[in-house]
Symmetry: C2
Subunit: 307 residues, 2 copies
DNA sequence: AGATTTGTATTGATTTTATCAATACCAGCC
DNA sequence: GGCTGGTATTGATAAAATCAATACAAATCT
């Protein structure tokens, strides 16, 4: 027995005509005739009485056909349930966001999103990348917003935007007078860094080593927040690199790097089990609407890895 | 999607191990793995999370598996319902019996059968063969007991026994002194016949024509019942042929024919739609138990057609 | 009664699919 | 590092569904 045979007898019962039933099933009449006969042989029961014109189901066939109809309905329901599961965005979701993004990105879109989708709610936690990844895997989180690539087979990344990495410097520093700063011109002394664990620290370090430099500290001050770093710079303790959302561009201490500008790739991250495609789509769209247009990737940028 | 794929995911959910699940499904592990993957691709959803050991269903997979379980249950129910329909003998059945059998055969087995099977009941109607056949076809009857063969594609015959056709003669006739009468020795004058429509009349006529004779009547008396014919013979109005159940053999007016003895084949008749195999079996058995042993066919008889 | 139409079954070739055996891969463990 | 238990991949083979063509069968129409 197979599902198509069930479809064939149901179609044949509806049309009482092999040719029409076959058309509905997108097969030829001999195919349908054969398969119906085969099912009858397997069940060892006549389903249709072919002696009349048009043919009609036998009494036993009636019950078989009705059960077949029911089975097909359930199969359809199985298919649909998957689709619905993917399409519905209603629900409670646990969202992890890295600390260098959360305070700057979330306010830009969350309220509007929640108002637009009253059936959807989030529990947001600020976590570092590794923690987000591990909690996605152990199903303690549903969604993450973080910097990719992660190179983790279990985690699916959906890139959203490319956020420029800027120089944040004080009036005292030589870079202050430049309109755009070359990465190569950076001396890595007095560079203020986030503490270990932040992916953004990894990116800054990667930028340094790609320049063949090593960070040398006179003052070894490592902060857990970009706000602290900015305050340090503002008070002439050196300079730092900072993602654009954390400062904006109108800040007088901010300088863009010369092209190709270093950027970080910000992505939605989910376990491969996560199937709410529509939610991912809606979230991504909402975020894209909430960030500056130039965050969409262009050719003159270089994606900096953090790991 | 096919039924086996559903079986595979259910088995895999139960064993959480491809090898064991494959064994239960009587296929090899690669087959099961492939089919599960194929279903996942078709539904476009991960059903199992293979990153853990042992693997486990994904949240979406759980619902898919449960629905699959349900579908398989219904499929089993379909199969079973056909079997049950065939095996159950309970019910109301409409039985047609030809007049030359009904009063002699039914009393021999019906009461015992009904007592043995309290859930089974019959509505019996005495009808001639053609009427039984046509009512079986139009579903006004479920069962018939009649003389075969019918040569009707829509009707299924289940032969039960072979009833000898006897000579019923009076003391005045020359046959009376013979122990066994040769068919050839019959002169067909003064042969009393049933009226048109009775299959037994057809058989007698066939016997005559097969002997190259034609029935010649001085008295053209045609009766609707064998009882009338017997009474006529008893009063020396001629002789007649008569099936054995209608007289018994101890009657002094009865003579067997010489071998090969003419017999009529008595059968159960049903429409090909009729699937209650067990009922047919039980009925046939009950009838066989209720008739003389020599009614079972032996080589020294000739089956006489009625049509 | 033949001719035509309508509906179903049969046949042989072809394509698709499921299945297998063998083996590669892969992670965890002594 | 080799071993083990579990899964995936591959290429060959067997089984099936399907098709086009056509035969057959019954009903309808001249």
């Amino acid at each position: 027995m197979n599902i198509q045979q069930l479809e064939y007898i149901v179609a044949l019962d509806e049309h009482r005509n092999h040719v029409k039933a076959a058309q509905q099933c997108h097969v030829t009449q001999p195919t349908l005739s054969m398969m119906v006969k085969k099912l009858e042989e397997e069940l060892d029961v006549m389903i249709f009485d072919r002696s009349t014109l048009p043919l009609k189901p036998t009494p036993a066939g009636e019950t078989v056909i009705n059960k077949a109809r029911n089975i097909l309905k359930e199969i359809k329901s199985l298919r649909d349930s998957v689709k619905i599961e993917k399409d519905t965005i209603e629900g409670e979701f646990r969202l992890g966001v890295i600390p260098t993004l959360a305070p700057y990105l979330l306010p830009r879109f969350l309220n509007e999103f929640l108002q637009k989708h009253p059936g959807t709610s989030f529990t947001v936690t600020e976590l570092q990348t590794q923690e987000i990844v591990s909690q996605l895997k152990s199903n303690k989180l549903d969604l993450g917003i973080l910097v990719s690539p992660l190179d983790d087979k279990e985690i699916r990344e959906i890139p959203i935007f490319y956020e420029p990495i800027l120089l944040y410097t004080s009036e005292k520093m030589k870079y202050y007078k430049q309109d755009r700063v070359s990465l190569k011109s950076l001396t890595y002394d007095n560079l203020l860094l986030l503490e270990e664990g932040h992916c953004f620290r990894g990116q800054v370090e990667n930028l340094c080593t790609s320049m063949g430099r090593k960070v040398v500290h006179q003052l070894n001050y490592q902060s857990g927040s970009l706000e602290t770093l900015k305050a340090m710079v503002d008070n002439d303790y050196g300079y730092t690199l900072i993602p654009e959302l954390a400062v904006g561009t109108k800040n007088k201490n901010v300088r863009h790097f010369t092209s190709p500008e270093p950027v970080r790739e910000v992505s939605l991250a989910v376990h491969h089990n996560f199937i709410k495609e529509r939610l991912l789509q809606k979230l991504r769209d909402a975020i894209l609407k909430a960030i500056p247009a130039h965050f969409k990737k262009n050719e003159k940028v270089v994606r900096v890895r953090w790991n």
